[in-house]
Symmetry: C2
Subunit: 256 residues, 2 copies
DNA sequence: TAAAATCGTTTCATAATACGAAACACTGTT
DNA sequence: AACAGTGTTTCGTATTATGAAACGATTTTA
């Protein structure tokens, strides 16, 4: 809580840092639990929560623990950033999911992470399921790698400077050189694969979505269990995903 | 800004009241514009916006005006209230929309208003389109009336005490007695109609969704232009919507 | 059954912070 | 050249947030 900041409302910052707890642990919290998580005083936490509750930003559940309230749902749905991406991606994603029968994701790079803007889940029982609005490390997912690959060289070197590549599985790329080579190959092939790099048994294909200036704005990925991703399927999957990407690109030519 | 409140963080309240501006006017705002809208001092508004920008709650658009930021999108998608309603309503709503080819809405009563939790738009060019997360007065919509009708008598009389029934069209019910009679009929028929009460040319059918205790938890509505809502269609529409309601009810039996 | 350990909540003197008028820098218009 | 818009910074003052301690109510442990 040092004041390196110029001149900001500290209690507003505190309030949102408290809400940030919910980004990591999506559960209901008590006053003392949140006080411990945030490092705030118990009374401070209590006062913040009372304030947020009065505003319908948080609310108590059946066990008198705090959960995020409906006002945040209302505000979240008003966010106009990437709104056209979200809007125009829906139907193409559904078409892809209908053909391939695997979960389809649509995301952008945000704060060095993949932010999922949209998804359509596989109709099958065994499937990948990610929450819209959640984010994931970029280096160990196909979607993240394809978004990185077509970023500027400055952005890529910045990414490597600030993000630690951690081992998720035996296949995870953990060296900067390894990732740079991988990104170069992705640029050449115009698609990315995640062969169990994030999680064992999980395979993922991703392709970029460009605007009219050939600048990357988003990516589409299809993911599922390795048992269903045979090498002979990947090419046909790619052409189906590319068809969806073309549809989206047709609508967002003025996106920047 | 009177302190009738017990002991709350006033600047946190100010911050969210500022964000509330976006609920009414979904546009980009400058510092002075927001200061005028909120009644805050220009400097206060500037400091609040700088704080919120540092937290990614708002961000500047191309014209250096403030819009809601992606952090709100992330938080909004974490809201767990009504999450299962939103989840289990999706496919039934899509099936209804596919059959009827009109826009289908799914909503609950929240703060005396209809809050739209989900929607599927009509595939036709001329269609009703409402924003998920937005809300609407209850008394002049079919969805609102059906949600009111099956509320407790206390809630209904409370509603009539606090909400002013304003004329939207010639058909709007503006008297308390008129609305009470209408709600009684809705309880008997188990569905509600909005015959151009909110907007001329706009017709809407709504039915309730109950939990296992026969308590209302949500409602489904189908809306479209009056030219496409012939009296002879309404009965067949109703049976299609009811089928969807049954599907949802099967999944939410423990909802309260 | 008593004691201890939780929980959320309230109090209040003190320390910290938000406030806002005024001045400033910048841009585009008259 | 004067004016009318922006957003931004400064700084003394008035307001507000802070947190240790005490409180009441449950639940758990001895």
């Amino acid at each position: 809580m040092k004041d390196v900041n110029k001149d900001l409302n500290l209690s507003v910052i505190k309030a949102f840092k408290l809400l940030d707890v919910y980004l990591n642990d999506k559960q209901a919290w008590g006053v003392r639990e949140l006080a411990k998580k945030t490092g705030y005083n118990k009374t401070t936490t209590y006062r913040l929560l009372s304030t947020l509750e009065a505003l319908d930003i948080v609310q108590k559940n059946d066990n008198d623990k705090y959960i995020l309230g409906l006002k945040l749902f209302e505000l979240g749905n008003l966010v106009s950033v990437h709104k056209s991406l979200r809007y125009y991606s829906r139907i193409p994603l559904e078409n892809i999911a209908k053909e391939i029968k695997e979960t389809v994701h649509f995301g952008v790079l945000n704060n060095s992470r993949v932010l999922y803007l949209n998804k359509v889940e596989s109709p099958l029982g065994l499937k990948v399921s990610t929450q819209i609005g959640s984010s994931q490390d970029a280096y160990c997912t196909a979607l993240g790698k394809v978004l990185l690959a077509f970023s500027s060289t400055d952005q890529i070197s910045d990414y490597l400077k600030h993000v630690k590549l951690k081992t998720c599985t035996l296949n995870t790329i953990v060296s900067s050189d390894g990732l740079l080579t991988e990104l170069k190959q992705i640029r050449e092939k115009e698609y990315a694969l995640d062969m169990e790099e994030l999680e064992l048994g999980l395979i993922c294909i991703a392709i970029p979505v460009f605007n009219k200036d050939k600048k990357i704005v988003a990516g589409i990925s299809v993911s599922g269990p390795s048992s269903r991703f045979k090498p002979e399927n990947i090419q046909s999957y790619l052409s189906i995903i590319k068809k969806g990407a073309f549809e989206i690109e047709a609508h967002i030519r003025d996106y920047n």
